[in-house]
Subunit: 225 residues, 2 copies
């Protein structure tokens, strides 16, 4: 049995990113270096690298000599993220209406189908993962790497925002609205597609309560498992 080298810094970032995007890591909790090092079975140096990148991405906030905490976006930041999403995703669907091919549409419809299954089975973690993944898949389909990376950031931050400010019990981003958007894109109806996307984002944002801040604590090891 050779000793495993452990995950790379990039893989750790990925894992934590996913845990945040899926809301298993709640805003406000501290990410202690030693703890993470033990969980991932790597040295603190690598954890440090990962945390530095995550801070750059806005997912964690590092307070000098205090530690790294999962970010609690302010109301202002929340509105900012949704503002940018409205403009970026509008651009995404416009572009898609011009350039989608059959393979793209197949992937998009497959994804919506998966969402439908997850909703029917009521598996919360899958629902969260897939509904964020839909928007990500749209950006990926455009073919611009920069756009994709930007959307990654936006989706992760949106997850944080939803975790802090969600008002309703039900999870938004249902597959119905997603399906409508896909079909509008399939019909190459840019006007309808952008309109549906705008409506969808408004809908998501409207389910947030942007006045109250909840404080949450959570078990770290379980969230990363």
């Amino acid at each position: 049995m050779t000793e495993q080298p452990g995950p790379s810094a990039r893989q750790i970032v990925e894992k934590v990113w996913l845990s945040i995007a899926e809301r298993r890591l709640r805003p406000g909790i501290q990410l202690k270096e030693e703890q993470l090092a033990a969980i991932f079975n790597v040295s603190r140096a690598r954890i440090r690298q990962a945390l530095t990148v995550l801070e750059r991405d806005g997912l964690v906030t590092i307070i000098p000599n205090r530690g790294a905490f999962v970010s609690k976006p302010s109301v202002e930041e929340a509105r900012d993220v949704f503002f940018v999403r409205r403009t970026v995703e509008r651009c995404v669907v416009e572009r898609l209406c011009q350039s989608v091919n059959k393979a793209d549409l197949r992937r998009l419809r497959d994804h919506v189908a998966k969402e439908r299954v997850a909703n029917a089975a009521d598996v919360t973690s899958d629902i969260i993962k897939l509904s964020g993944g839909f928007h990500l898949l749209l950006a990926e389909t455009v073919g611009s790497d920069f756009l994709f990376t930007t959307m990654r950031d936006l989706i992760a931050r949106s997850s944080l925002i939803t975790a802090v400010y969600r008002n309703t019990n039900r999870f938004n981003c249902g597959p119905d609205e997603h399906e409508e958007i896909v079909e509008a894109i399939a019909a190459k109806d840019a006007k309808k597609a952008t309109h549906l996307m705008a409506h969808h984002l408004e809908h998501v944002e409207s389910e947030l309560d942007l006045s109250e801040i909840r404080d949450l604590s959570h078990d770290l090891r379980a969230a990363l498992a």
Copy 2:
């Protein structure tokens, strides 16, 4: 005489970012950790942190066990960056036409004036710095932090792209086109402003030769001084 603690990792990132944006650090050159540590008078660990962040920003490429190099964007990436700039900056000027106030306009006009001075004096480094700064100032004026950060990335990458693929001797991004854009915004003429911006970006992109790749070497210490 107490020992200086040296610049923080963030400050190092800033310094290298600026050196790249101003094209004093050319694409392809290797950033050796020991060398940087000596220049900034800090330990290698802090240099490592800075390089990790710069890699995440796409400005340097880290090859495992080889080192960190200033990125050489591919033709594909170049087109991608300009594609995103067209859409993002269009959104920026649209937004500005709705929300500029007199203080904003004053700052913008001041900036253009500075560009004009630099052009008249023919100080190349100032010209580069200010012409990128204009686009950054536009994004900042919108008031969205996310948008500003995104434009930072785009401008830095654009600088890299220009350094690699610039065809003409003259520096693009002259103050005339910038001034026209500012005045269109001042007149709240969104149609004209977006049109001018699109034209401006097309102009900049058209001065690139997206088929040839030049190899450059450079003196590291001089560039960072």
